[in-house]
């Protein structure tokens, strides 16, 4: 066992870090990740273009589509270094992490050529249009219809929870092409031009107050058949390729951790009135559990990296990370607020401890437990794909979509 990079990995890391130091010097660039709106997007796009010029984009992709054909471990290393610099990569995560790999796997050669370059350079941004108001965990139960009309498909329906739809140029859209078939078998995937007539993007007002996601409505939107991804009726298998990448992408924790709550506890009186909360035994036990969970997650990633280093493909085990992190974030935020006692209700960053980080985390955590696979779906995945347990009894097997309760 050792935690060091191989010499090749170390050289790559050093080279990447030197480039990042040189490229992400300006404070504006580092902060772009937090800037919502056109200014932040401009900065992010400029950074992405520089990444391509320096050869750091599409590290694992094939050379013929502009990649470097490096092993996945190099992509992980570059991501770790980028994270340290708070590189503004957010707007491209879904497009380059999920949509474009799907395009490369299923689209025609000339379309791949058309889309991959601009996406890689950050000139065009992509979003993923799968979830619907009545099809979340059961995404294959979606209603949005695609009906063939000459060389086109005509789309009607609605998607929801679409990150970045408001600034995206293209999206991959999963729609129902045949309601006479079983629900998984009547789906087809398309590339949608988000600027096409009939596409209407509306922001979702989240429970935490912000708007990071959208609803997208389709009213007689036309998509040429040449923009179909894969065979008609094979959309579910195409979607699985996309989703495989999602849980890796949504894994990390972004909230306050044990170090932050330890600091809070040091400066907060204990409930008994004697000493600080950090001296309170009940609190210390909870702190130990959060430490074990947070460190276990990080160490688990090292095990994944080791598997990648050896050329193995990490399986659905990585679902663990999201369950742990989202729940820890919620528990820890809740405990911090309770520790602040009545003062804990204050969410004004100018007054609340640590710029209201715990109050923000408290309001964000419920979303993290749902996004990219709910806690419950992830447990099903672990149970079925890792432990090999049988599927739940299905009432939708062998039934045409149109005949399902709720189907239409």
């Amino acid at each position: 066992m050792d935690f060091n990079d191989s010499s090749e990995e170390a050289a790559f890391r050093a080279e990447a870090r030197a480039w990042l130091e040189k490229t992400l010097t300006h404070q504006n660039v580092r902060n772009a990740v937090r800037i919502d709106g056109p200014e932040g997007l401009k900065i992010a796009k400029a950074y992405q273009t520089k990444k391509v010029e320096a050869g750091y984009a599409g590290l694992t992709w094939k050379k013929e589509v502009g990649g470097r054909e490096l092993a996945p471990i190099f992509s992980v290393i570059f991501g770790q270094e980028e994270a340290k610099f708070q590189a503004p990569t957010g707007p491209f995560a879904i497009g380059l992490g999920m949509c474009i790999p799907t395009v490369i796997a299923f689209h025609s050669a000339d379309r791949i050529k058309r889309y991959v370059g601009p996406a890689l350079r950050g000139e065009e941004i992509w979003c993923q249009l799968f979830s619907e108001p009545s099809a979340g965990s059961d995404v294959a139960g979606l209603k949005t219809r695609a009906v063939r009309d000459g060389d086109d498909w005509v789309i009607n329906g609605q998607k929801v929870w679409t990150s970045g739809a408001h600034y995206s140029d293209y999206g991959i859209l999963l729609a129902r092409t045949n309601p006479e078939k079983e629900k998984h078998k009547g789906l087809t995937m398309f590339v949608l031009n988000m600027k096409a007539p009939g596409v209407d993007v509306r922001p979702i007002h989240q429970m935490a107050g912000g708007s990071n996601f959208n609803e997208v409505y389709f009213n007689d939107v036309r998509i040429p058949d040449a923009e179909r991804l894969g065979e008609v009726g094979n959309g579910w298998n195409v979607a699985l390729v996309t989703l495989m990448n999602e849980r890796l992408a949504v894994g990390g924790s972004s909230g306050p951790e044990y170090a932050e709550i330890l600091e809070l506890a040091r400066n907060t009186p204990a409930p008994g009135g004697k000493g600080s909360l950090l001296q309170d035994q009940a609190f210390r036990e909870k702190l130990a559990s959060w430490y074990v969970s947070a460190e276990g997650y990080t160490l688990g990633k090292y095990r994944t990296m080791t598997a990648l280093s050896k050329g193995q493909t990490p399986g659905p085990e990585s679902s663990i990370g999201k369950i742990l992190n989202a729940n820890r974030m919620q528990d820890l935020a809740n405990a911090a607020i309770e520790a602040e006692d009545h003062f804990g209700i204050i969410a004004d960053p100018a007054i609340a401890p640590m710029q209201a980080a715990f109050q923000n985390a408290y309001m964000w955590a419920p979303g993290l437990r749902i996004a990219g696979g709910t806690d419950e779906i992830l447990r099903n995945i672990i149970a079925e794909r890792v432990l090999g347990l049988p599927q739940d009894v299905r009432v939708d097997k062998g039934v045409a979509y149109k005949d399902l309760p709720g189907g239409r």
């Binding site: 066992m1 050792d2 935690f3 060091n4 990079d5 191989s6 990995e9 471990i73 044990y258 170090a259 330890l262 950090l278 035994q281 210390r284 036990e285 702190l287 130990a288 559990s289 430490y291 074990v292 969970s293 460190e295 276990g296 997650y297 160490l299 688990g300 090292y302 095990r303 990296m305 080791t306 598997a307 280093s309 085990e317 663990i320 369950i323 742990l324 419950e376 992830l378 447990r379 099903n380 672990i382 149970a383 079925e384 890792v386 432990l387 090999g388 347990l389 049988p390 599927q391 739940d392 009894v393």
Partner: protein, 371 residues
């Protein structure tokens, strides 16, 4: 980055698993459980000695294999998986480690080769009553030559040939090495939750003993031994927890209720998924402990605490939910769930309970943050 065991270590683990599947079969474990006069399996103990495991981390000059902490960890995982009824942890993780850490040249020369051969069975005697031991509460006393006092419970104390005992000496504490085959030592066998391992109350009445390490450093030495043992026990716990999950998964696939495999119900699936998550969390923390152990890292105290906390939680959770998954069958004597449920509790409290280790963890975290 290589956060995994080597191919050689995995091969050793594989051999150990096969060996124990045969020599520490559930029948062997149950024979010890059912026979009140028997607290370990002698044939298994001899077999383990022949395999060289008792000296895995003992230097070759004392007859050991001279391997390292990582090899000990993979063996510990298999011992835990098999619920092996032998004084392995007492002898290897505690007694031998204490000798290696603090023994004089003469003490090592006299005892280590006999540990390797299985003739010396060690034990580690700290506890004197309910609650976690603390330096000021230790009553047993040593005057430089003679030891008096009571230790209860001492794991494997009923069959051990030797003990390392924590005792007062002057104003401090010392570790004392005692040969248990002498007139000044009285042993009383204890009834415990886990009869597959022996336990005794040891009463010392001016028993002959010799100091292990320096006078007054007993508590610090004991803590250092406990840190190393915590990592190795964490691997036993992970092995046992994994065996529980494997059992529960098998049962959930084969048992039908309401005309379906019970493993198709989400209530069962989610329970088993939670067991898997707890075990993997324990495993990742234990791996880090293994790395710290094998490299003598300054991170060992914190890593050991994290491994111990995570693995204790995982084994308790897996053991109790394995019983639950088996339903009424799981509550019978004949089904093996209780072997793990018993051992899980022994391993959780044997080297200091979860609360003690959570407290150690936070104290060490504070020290690290202050540094």
């Amino acid at each position: 980055m290589n956060f995994d065991f080597s191919d050689d270590q995995k091969m050793l683990q594989d051999q150990a698993r096969k060996f124990l599947a045969e020599k520490s079969s559930r029948k062997v474990v149950r024979d010890v459980l059912n026979d009140t006069g028997k607290s370990y399996d002698l044939a298994l103990w001899k077999g383990v000695a022949e395999q060289g495991w008792l000296g895995a981390a003992i230097p070759e000059e004392f007859g050991g294999l001279g391997l390292g902490g990582l090899e000990q960890c993979v063996l510990a995982e298999e011992v835990g998986r098999a619920v092996a009824p032998i004084p392995f942890s007492s002898t290897v993780y505690f007694f031998a480690e204490a000798l290696l850490a603090a023994g004089s040249a003469a003490q090592k020369k006299a005892l280590l080769p006999k540990i390797v051969g299985g003739e010396v069975v060690g034990s580690f005697a700290i506890s004197e009553g309910p609650g976690a031991p603390s330096p000021s509460a230790i009553e047993a006393s040593f005057d430089g030559a003679k030891l008096s006092g009571v230790k209860i419970p001492v794991t494997d104390g009923d069959i051990a040939t030797h003990a390392v005992v924590l005792a007062k000496e002057g104003s401090g504490l010392s570790l004392v090495l005692v040969d248990l085959k002498q007139a000044g030592v009285k042993r009383e066998t204890l009834t415990t939750l886990d009869p597959t391992r022996g336990h005794a109350k040891l009463t010392f009445d001016k028993a002959n003993g010799e100091r292990l390490g320096k006078a007054g450093e007993g508590w610090e030495l004991a803590e250092a031994v406990l840190d190393r043992a915590a990592v190795l026990i964490a691997f036993e716990q992970i092995g046992g927890a994994q065996a529980c999950l494997d059992m529960a998964v098998d049962y959930a696939k084969g048992r039908y209720a309401f005309s379906r495999q019970i493993g198709s119900f989400q209530a069962i699936k989610h329970k088993l998924a939670d067991m898997y998550v707890a075990i993997e969390l324990g495993r990742s923390n234990a791996y880090y402990g293994a790395w710290a152990l094998s490299t003598e890292s300054a991170q060992l105290p914190l890593a050991a605490a994290a491994a111990r906390v995570a693995a204790s939680d995982a084994y308790y959770f897996a053991a109790k939910e394995n019983v639950q998954t088996h339903g009424g069958m799981g509550f019978t004597w004949e089904v093996d769930c209780h072997l793990f449920y018993r051992r899980a509790k022994l391993l959780a409290v044997q080297a200091g309970g979860p609360s003690v280790w959570k407290e150690k963890l936070v104290r060490r975290l504070e020290l690290k943050n202050a540094a």
